[in-house]
Symmetry: C2
Subunit: 226 residues, 2 copies
């Protein structure tokens, strides 16, 4: 599980202090299916980046299975991300020189225990489920926006990690495709007890979620439990 | 107005030919408020990029006010884009080393006839309307996803061009912010007779539009006139 205490993230810009996250307390249980919602600029990505160890908070603690990840060294954080986490970035962050297939397989490469053949089967299977198998040899700049997004989603899901942090995973997808991906994530959540924490404006995700944490100006405004 | 005849765009990838757009005929009248809709990968961005002279089609003609833009030289195309067009990119394409304010003012710089002071007033006004004035000194990597998107939208709108091509302009915005921007665009369309052509999955844009062109696999599947 994840325990966040007094989390703050500030940016100093000249004389102005931007409080992206302002003293948040928030807990997540194993196997949750929860979304961080709220207006553009309310702090959703900043909270996800903090949980994912992508960014150092200005203040506060983040305990993941009782280990405070804010106190880990760079190599310990990178092991944490490799072993426990799948991250879907809001801007995809695909590797431009690799094909769609190689981008997804890359996240299995860092988990050493599979053979090359086993990896290829897992990558093809998730690409089939996301309806992007036909584009496996395309590089990111040879893919549509929504196809790039699905490669970014597949790259996180293929790992079957303990925790998946998904930042706006359906923003560039049509209803039917977005729905299919949400159903797939829900199945992984129920069958494998994987914890999903989303950031999203998408009504479909907010309706699917078991819990909605509403942020505004870096603070928690309201929590809905379904 | 815009007349598209026999438009095709193909990519050759090894032995496979990807038909991104497959022989489309489509006309747009001045002052339209139209959306290209359809599944991810159906060809929406490719059609917008062709109209905007961003990409050479494999085949076909695109007449803008009776000039075939496919036959223009590079410098003539760049004049066409500078004088007549505002483009909102699906991935924003902001200039990383400039602030939000400078990114928006840059699109006025290429229209020589305003003084520095007049430009600053126009930039501040559009940023105020898009609720991003407070972030004017932030660079793109110091902005949230939806804030970057609004800078990209503002950069196109501030020019008051004849034609605005908007590729998924609300994908990363919450309902309220997306709604505000759509109302602003509708006002510009009605008051200044600016032609808007959108690519979008967003139900709000599809409902707002006067005409919906449904694409599938690079072809026009259906056209709805409201
Ligand atoms: N450079 C390229 N090389 C090969 N195929 C490409 C290239 N660019 C685009 N494509 C393909 O052309 C098709 C249409 O792409 P396009 O970006 O127009 O779709 P779209 O409707 O905008 O999709 P989305 O809603 O996901 O943004 C896609 O299947 C894509 O993979
Ligand atoms: N590097 C930075 N420097 C200064 N301010 C920043 C920086 N990164 C983010 N911010 C600010 O922090 C606030 C929160 O940003 P964040 O990306 O978490 O918002 P968000 O809720 O994900 O928004 P969106 O829905 O638009 O993606 C924003 O107002 C943003 O401008
Ligand atoms: Mg965000
Ligand atoms: Mg597109």
């Amino acid at each position: 599980n994840i325990i966040i205490k007094n989390l703050s993230k500030e940016y100093v810009m000249g004389k102005v202090i931007v409080k992206a996250v302002n003293n948040i307390d928030l807990d997540f249980e194993k196997g949750e299916f929860t979304v961080l919602a709220g207006p553009s600029g309310s702090g959703k990505t900043t909270v996800l980046n903090a949980i994912g160890g992508m960014d150092d908070p200005t203040n506060g603690k983040i305990l993941v299975d009782n280990v405070n990840i804010c106190e880990l060294s760079n190599s310990e954080i990178s092991d944490f991300r490799k072993d426990k986490l799948g991250f879907i970035f809001q801007q995809y962050n695909l590797i431009p020189v690799l094909t769609a297939f190689e981008n997804i397989r890359f996240s299995l490469d860092i988990m050493k225990k599979l053979s090359k053949k086993e990896k290829a089967i897992k990558v093809e299977q998730i690409m089939e489920e996301m309806d992007i198998l036909e584009y496996k040899k395309h590089r990111p700049d040879e893919l549509s926006g929504g196809q790039q997004q699905r490669v970014a989603v597949a790259r996180a899901l293929v790992k079957d990690p303990e925790i998946i942090l998904a930042d706006e995973p359906t923003a560039n997808l049509d209803s039917k495709t977005g729905e299919t991906i949400l159903q797939l994530m829900k199945r992984m959540n129920v069958e494998k007890n994987i914890t999903f924490i989303f950031s999203s404006h998408d009504k479909r995700i907010i309706e699917f979620a078991k819990r909605v944490v509403w942020l505004e100006d870096g603070k928690i405004k309201n929590i809905e439990n379904r």
